[in-house]
């Protein structure tokens, strides 16, 4: 490159950012319409592979360091667990008897077995770098049976909570859009009072979820701390998955319904593993057939 570029070269150089901005806008125009999806899928397959690699390097280093300390603890735990195992073996024998009895009693009472969903476990490999689009990247994709719009749940402190849904699927990775994203909506109901509403995100893990369109009459029945679960109506989410607990109730006079702030049941910053629900048994069909 010459030391003193000509006027034409300088002009061409200055035009480059403008051209790139125009190209970006054209991409946006195309992708916000129906053509969206195809380039994203190809992209996530290619770049998801590298992102998985980064996550793998990170976990290898942290796991190696952690395992040194873990080895010491394991020796002590082993002794303790050997003793526990003996006790639990005895308990298990009693438990099998109790389970058989419980099943018989349920049959007599006419209760159906708890619905169970086929789940695919996945590890979170990355969270979206920009806080504007809070997405989660998991290490399972098309080859593992993941499809677009499948619901994603996680277990934390023994509770099953709703994480979100699959937004895009690559070959070996998928993007999950969490329920706290601003564009995410979930058909929900209050677990105790059974009133229905629509839960939406606020765009951040630190902001509460908001449940809207709940009938005004529900105000007297709702209490702080009440559990909100998925309703399953006209929704991709199966029913009765915990979403959050009522934190605040807003009853604005000019609105025909009340709004509630929900404290999410899951701490999204601590999530490491999730489960993608592959098939949801149709509860209503089963009930009807009974």
């Amino acid at each position: 490159m010459a030391d003193s570029p000509s006027k034409e070269t300088r002009r061409t150089r200055r035009a480059v950012p403008g051209i790139l901005l125009v190209v970006s806008l054209m991409c946006l125009i195309i992708s916000t319409r129906s053509l969206a999806g195809v380039p994203e899928r190809v992209g996530i397959t290619v770049f998801g592979f590298f992102e998985k690699g980064f996550a793998a390097v990170g976990s290898f280093v942290s796991d190696t360091l952690a395992s040194i300390a873990e080895l010491r603890r394991l020796r002590a735990d082993y002794q303790e667990l050997a003793g526990k195992l003996e006790r639990y073996t005895n308990i298990e024998r009693g438990l099998a008897d109790l389970q058989a009895e419980n099943r018989r009693l349920k049959e007599q009472l006419g209760f159906s077995d708890q619905l169970s969903y086929e789940r695919i476990s996945a590890r979170i490999v990355a969270k979206d770098p920009a806080s504007l689009y809070p997405t989660i990247l998991i290490n399972k994709g098309i080859e593992d049976g993941i499809r677009k719009d499948m619901p994603v749940v996680a277990f934390q402190d023994g509770i099953e909570g709703l994480v979100g849904r699959i937004l895009e699927v690559g070959h070996g990775t998928s993007i999950v859009i969490p329920i706290y994203d601003g564009s995410s909506f979930v058909a929900a109901r209050l677990d105790k009072a059974r009133h229905e509403g629509l839960v939406g995100g606020s765009g951040s893990t630190d902001e509460p979820l908001v449940m809207r369109f709940v009938k005004k009459s529900a105000k007297d029945e709702v209490q702080y701390g009440d559990l909100v679960v998925t309703s399953g109506f006209e929704s991709i989410y199966p029913p009765d998955i915990a979403i959050g607990r009522v934190q605040k109730i807003r009853d604005l006079e000019y609105q025909t319904s009340i709004e509630m702030d929900l404290d999410p049941i899951l701490d999204f910053s601590r999530l490491e593993y999730v489960f993608v629900i592959r098939s949801v048994p149709n509860a209503r069909t089963e009930e009807a057939s009974q």
């Binding site: 490159m1 150089r13 200055r14 480059v16 950012p17 790139l20 901005l21 190209v23 970006s24 806008l25 054209m26 991409c27 946006l28 125009i29 195309i30 992708s31 916000t32 969206a36 380039p39 994203e40 190809v42 992209g43 996530i44 290619v46 770049f47 998801g48 590298f50 992102e51 980064f54 996550a55 990170g58 490999v125 990355a126 969270k127 979206d128 770098p129 920009a130 806080s131 504007l132 689009y133 997405t135 990247l137 937004l167 895009e168 993007i175 859009i177 994203d181 601003g182 564009s183 765009g203 951040s204 893990t205 630190d206 910053s269």
Partner: protein
């Protein structure tokens, strides 16, 4: 120049993947520093109007692929921020702390303005920051704080990433 664009793009993509895979542990109220943005500001400031915006555009496209954002969103935002930073090319001497902090902070605000500009045209199809929300200010402060460290770490790569500057 092509070489510096390719190297800069790879560096930005690396930063982007690293922050999404590793930096969750240092998140403050859900916000992690945008290493890729800070590195982009440095590259653009050092190179002028071609390499910075071109690398920002390419790295932004990759971010679009790995996020829920519509294709072109990050590409536009990063190109716009890089263009703004490249306009300052050679205007100031970059010291150890003050200018990196200012550039990191202002770059984040420029990013929010670019996203806001897009939301004017694309409405709810794209997300934008709310200037009344703490997230943008938290991210701006966080990026400002990490900028001196990022600029310091990038300085030895000046010859590879900013060859024009390196020759002068």
């Amino acid at each position: 120049m092509i070489r510096s664009i390719i190297l800069s793009t790879l560096l930005l993509i690396g930063c982007s993947f690293a922050q999404s895979a590793w930096l969750g542990g240092i998140a403050v109220l859900g916000v992690v520093p945008d290493l890729s943005l800070v590195a982009l500001i440095w590259i653009s400031y050092m190179n002028g109007p071609v390499s910075g915006p071109a690398s920002g555009f390419l790295a932004g496209l990759v971010e679009d692929f790995t996020s829920a954002a519509p294709l072109g969103f990050h590409a536009f935002v990063k190109t716009a921020v890089a263009t703004a930073a490249s306009l300052l090319h050679g205007s100031f001497f970059i010291d150890r702390f003050l200018l990196p902090i200012v550039l990191g902070t202002l770059g984040t605000i420029a990013k929010a303005l670019a996203a806001g500009f897009l939301s004017l045209f694309f409405g709810s199809a794209v997300h934008s920051y709310s200037f009344l929300d703490r997230i943008i200010w938290l991210e701006a402060a966080y990026n400002g704080l990490v900028a001196p460290l990022v600029f310091f770490l990038l300085a030895p790569l000046k010859r590879a990433l900013a060859p024009e500057r390196g020759r002068s």
